[in-house]
Amino acid sequence: MRRTRPHHDTSAVLGAILIGLLLTPVGTVATAQEISPRDILERVDANMTVRTARTKAQMTITYRDGDVRNMLYEAWAEGTDRSFLEFTAPARDAGSRFLRRGDAMWIFLPRVGKSVRIQGHMLRQGIMGSDFSYGDASENPSMVEDYDATIESEVDLAGRPTYVLYLTAKRDDLSYQHRRIWIDSERWIPLKEELFAKSGKLLKTATFGDVRQVGRRWYPFAIEMNNELQTDTRTTLQILEMDFNVNVPQEVFTVSYLESGF
């Protein structure tokens, strides 16, 4: 296994949303008086600190009429800025691949045999028709770097004690200018997140669930994303398999690999 700088594991590409978990001994409780918002975000970040990860996951899109679309993908991630994802089902989408390096992203279209750069405001488009956007997948996992935070309150959410943080973007080019996050104050994982436009309009709501302990960490294995601009649709991301600190060949995160798909 290579030695790389610590980074967040995400649920591969899509997991930028998952960012922000923590790595604190289980059961540690801190009060708002003795912890700063930055400390909270850093603990959340630290919880996700692994070198590499391989993920198999199912993405389920549920439509207003109850119709459901299921997609399967396999993904690899290394560092905070490298991830590769390939859809394996359904047949319509099988073979579609994504590469992310930093804030740059490419998609490979198998029936055209060509990779296409996803850029500019195209990042707002939903991935494979889901409520997750390309921008969600390509944003910097470290919220400490991109947002100023304040603690709004401490509340119980689904039986768990949480800090409610309100984040304001430090830059104009971020997908979401404001975020409100409910963070489990014992497990240091987000349980809920609201994503806002600059105008203050609520764009999306993410709910984190299926929390499991992996070694000394806690990890949400499911995310439900609701696009508040599209009525009654939601996308659920369920991690089926996740391996930390696996050996990921460097060529995986290259354009050549994206286009040849070894």
């Binding site: 439509y63 290259t254 050549s256 070894f262």
Partner: protein, 419 residues
């Protein structure tokens, strides 16, 4: 619609401008059917050869594909036409470890309806052609692609009919030397090119590629050198190529000339500027005594409601500023030798998800020289997880003799089921 069909024919390498008798066509279709059965047997036996070994873990194979049915109608002058086709595609991909992969796809396509496309319907009145001149759409089967790739470090070598698709632009790709897009449907799949290519990665986002596509002897085969690099957030590529093309004949009754050598240098760049996705692509080419420049500039923007807006401008140095266009240009269009009649073309596209499973799109192509345009509204519906439906209309705007005004009004309904 007829214009669409003709473009489609030209772009998809349906090469015959024929006056074959129905007897000949009938015999031809019988031969095609026999060949199809043979080809099917080969493909199926290949799949069975691959899949069991996949169970051992030595090779991972995947079989996918689709059935597609399309019914189209067109109206031009005082005549309605209809065309119906079935298309079946089977893809097999296999991986053997991390160093070898292979992929192939076979396509069968069966036509019904007005399969005889008269050139007089695709050409302006000032270019009279006899009614006996037509393109016959014949049932066909072909290997869309069939190649394998091996990776002897640090190289990546691909041999076989492969995708050599280049360029950053959406609709008009000057650097697309082998399989130009159908501008009426730029995202539709295209065939591969029989070639040997060697790629040398020079970093995660950079590489150099050499491709050699045999055609006749060594002198008439295509040679391409292409380099790609990622710099300051932009993807940049450059290519130098020598290819050989068969120009359109000087007149409809004349045979197509022999291959002519063409040299092209060009490149493209794509990235983000002020929040916009932007791209530029251009080439300089020379063939025989002719030299010309092609250039595309474009950008896109997505509104917060998911609406994608895309605009692209294309300059074609081989085109003319307005009608009447020369016979040579019209014939070049029919034979797929050249992308537009006009020098300056603007392409626009807007797509928006409507409801959960519906997407509405509208594209427009306008010739700035003669003022003609084609409007192409479309609605797609994801009927089920692996089922897509698409309704696509084409409205030709402009008088007869203009580039897009000479097309027909029409549209198609297409269904596709994936497996």
């Amino acid at each position: 619609m007829l214009g669409t069909i003709v473009c489609l024919i030209a772009n998809r390498q349906s090469s015959l401008v024929s006056r074959q008798s129905s007897i000949v066509n009938h015999q031809s279709s019988i031969v095609n059917r026999r060949s199809s059965i043979t080809l099917l047997a080969i493909v199926c036996s290949s799949m069975f050869a691959i899949i069991p070994s996949a169970l051992t873990g030595q090779t991972a194979a995947r079989l996918t594909g689709y059935w597609e049915h399309q019914f189209s109608v067109g109206y031009r002058g005082d005549r309605w036409t209809q065309l119906d086709y079935d298309r079946f595609r089977a893809d097999v991909t296999a991986r053997a470890g991390r160093s070898t992969s292979a992929s192939a796809a076979v396509v069968w396509q069966l036509y019904r309806g007005n399969t005889r496309v008269f050139l007089s319907d695709a050409l302006p009145d000032y270019f009279p052609v006899p009614d006996s001149a037509f393109v016959e759409l014949e049932n066909r089967h072909f290997l869309n692609h069939a190649y394998f790739t091996i990776r002897p470090h640090p190289f990546e070598i691909t041999a076989g009919k492969q995708y050599l698709t280049w360029g950053a632009a959406w609709a008009f790709n000057p650097t697309e030397l082998f399989r130009p897009k159908d501008v009426f449907e730029p995202t539709y799949e295209r065939e591969g090119v029989g070639a040997l290519s060697v790629r040398l990665p020079l970093g995660p986002l950079s590489n150099v590629m050499v491709a050699y596509a045999p055609e006749g002897g060594f002198e008439t085969s295509a040679k391409v050198l292409r380099a790609r690099h990622h710099l300051s957030g932009f993807d940049i590529s450059a290519l130098v190529a020598e290819i050989h093309e068969r120009p359109a004949p000087a007149d409809i009754d004349l045979p197509q000339p022999v291959l002519e050598q063409r040299h092209t240098i060009g490149g493209d760049v794509t990235g983000e500027l002020l929040g916009l996705g932007v791209w530029a692509e251009g080439t300089w080419s020379e063939r025989a005594d002719e030299t010309w420049v092609e250039m595309t500039l474009g950008g896109n923007y997505t509104l917060s409601n998911g609406t994608l807006l895309l605009v692209e401008g294309y300059y074609n140095g081989r085109g003319e500023w307005g009608e009447p266009y020369s016979r040579q240009l019209w014939l070049a269009r029919i034979y797929g030798d050249g992308r537009t009649l006009g020098k300056a073309t603007v392409y626009g596209l807007a797509t928006k998800p409507v409801g959960d499973l519906w997407t509405v799109a509208a594209s427009a192509i306008a010739n700035l020289g003669d003022g003609s345009a084609a409007l192409i509204p479309a609605v797609s519906y994801a009927f089920a997880e692996n089922v897509d439906l698409l309704v696509n209309l084409v409205f030709s705007i402009g008088p007869d003799g203009t580039e897009y005004g000479s097309g027909s009004q029409g549209g198609f309904l297409r269904g596709r089921v994936y497996f």
